[in-house]
Amino acid sequence: MDMKTFLSLEWEIMAPEFIILGIIILISLLDIFMSKRADRKVLGWIGIAGVIGAAVSLALLIDHSAASILYDTFRLDSFSKAFKLLLLIGAVLVLFLAVSYEPKEGIEYKGEFYYLFLAALLGAMMMASSGDLISLFTGLELLSISSYILAGMRKKHLLSNESAMKYVINGGISTAVTLFGMSYVYGLAGTTNLKAISTYLTRNLDEQHIYLLGLAFFMIFIGLSFKLASAPFHMWAPDVYEGAPTPVTAFLGVASKTAGFVLLVRVLLVIFLSVPSDSWPGSDPLLIKVQDYMAFLAGATMIIGNVIALRQRNVKRLFAYSSIAHAGYLLVAVATVSTLFETMWFYLLAYLFMNLGAFAVIQLLTEKADSEDISHFSGLYRRSPVLAVAMAIFILSLAGIPGTAGFIGKLNIFIGALITTPAHYVLASVMIAATIVSYYYYFGIMSQMFFRPQENGEKVMIQAGIGVVIGICAVGTILFGIMPNLALDFLHTNFDFTDLFQ
């Protein structure tokens, strides 16, 4: 490639990524040259400004028609724009949490925190817009490896070390499984470009190779279930959520999960939706054929998450199981495929607000304490009514009570499971049952906040950063619960998801 073609590429469609990359380089250099004792919070504020800048530049690109550069490895289509918007909103809120995070023993390496976090965000964004197995894989690993380090950020804290170790081992195994599946997909198609794979396999797939492709599908799906924290790769989540610093836990719960679903949808829909599942012409596509298995995993995830959450006393562990359950609800949308994009986007938006809000409250209540026992919530209503009401909103939304964004999200998934042909009645009923089970532990927190006597009478001080997060999340949860069309109309007017396949 000579200089002229290099410059003639449409680099502006990568502007959000370039901004994030620039900020990473800037704050890592600043971190080196700042004096040792200087407060690293300023790096966090630069990071927040950078992410907002990236979001603005993404908003400017919103009318840009679908385009791709670098041999189709980087694609800017409606799908990537819509989900990158979610990632950036989540990242801003998590950075606000991180700026206000002050555990008792302090974090020695606070500067690293911000640029590793932004590197993880960059990986997630690259995943959202990549059109090639290689760039998908590198994006995935940029996200994963940065998150491993983030989980172990409290270097002198044994639980943090242990959670990071478990995360690396689980992550390594799941990466290898995904990659093994990808290598078979490459072998059968002879190219790594998602679009070209799909075209080649639809036309030339040898009937003897169909089972190999099925195997590859399952390996990719199982490996990616690690990122989603869904069965069968969910066991890391409780340990990592408990041991990692709270802002990191919030990031893993929201941004990392969003990235996992983005990757899943891109690989599954682009490659496997058009590939035939049998040798005769006109047979169902592979993705439809394996729906039952995906539905089984979705059901198992919902049941495991909600049932084990019942006996948790540690709040962060409880929310880890709750996040497993939510991954299960989202997998229902993936397994039933109907109106996938809108449903998934809206649910992830709702989940972002309610989960980040809840984690902001958890961080505020537990960062100075030695334990994260649920009794920290006792008598919260008397200590700080505002905080208790905000937490109640998030919990009602997570439980899926009408009037909150979580309810609308769940309703969309539920209806999607019923209107598709054939309708997934079993899956829909499992979802209802799992939701009812979840009321028990969600309302356990509520009863702690409102009905238990307070354990320590101190007032809770709300720092500015956390206050902003709680405010935005509470408003978002209620607003999209009462007027979900605000978000859905925005989605319909600005994005046309069919360009994913062009």
């Binding site: 290689i134 690993e141 990071a164 290898a176 990808m182 290598s183 490459y186 030339n204």
Partner: protein, 104 residues
């Protein structure tokens, strides 16, 4: 050179992958577990290179992919060992079954 069929390479990769998976799931020592994960990742490289030479539609992309996966595997191993170091400093153990502070 062509006398070795592609299935032999694939079988080798599959066997290595299974050995790695077995090691990663059963061994007590974390260093061995990390090595087993490396074995799994490297079996993928054999697959990719074999496909790029003898696959259904041979192409150079497989070798490019293998290069990327090697770099990523190295980064992952480095991070894994670094985390193991900081864990060892605090707890003086590298045995997986002694990392049980976090559990239900």
């Amino acid at each position: 050179m062509n006398s070795v069929p592609v299935s032999a390479y694939l079988a080798l990769a599959l066997i290595l992958f299974c050995i790695g998976l077995y090691g990663a799931l059963t061994k007590r020592n974390t260093v061995i577990v990390l090595i087993s994960i490396e074995l799994m990742l490297n079996s993928v490289n054999i697959n990719l290179v074999a496909f790029s030479k003898f696959g259904v539609a041979p192409s150079i992309y497989g070798q490019v992919f293998a290069l990327f996966s090697m770099a990523v595997a190295a980064a992952e191993a480095a991070v894994g060992l670094a985390i193991l170091f900081s864990l060892y400093r605090n707890s003086k153990t590298v045995m997986i079954d002694e990392m049980n502070k976090l559990k239900d």
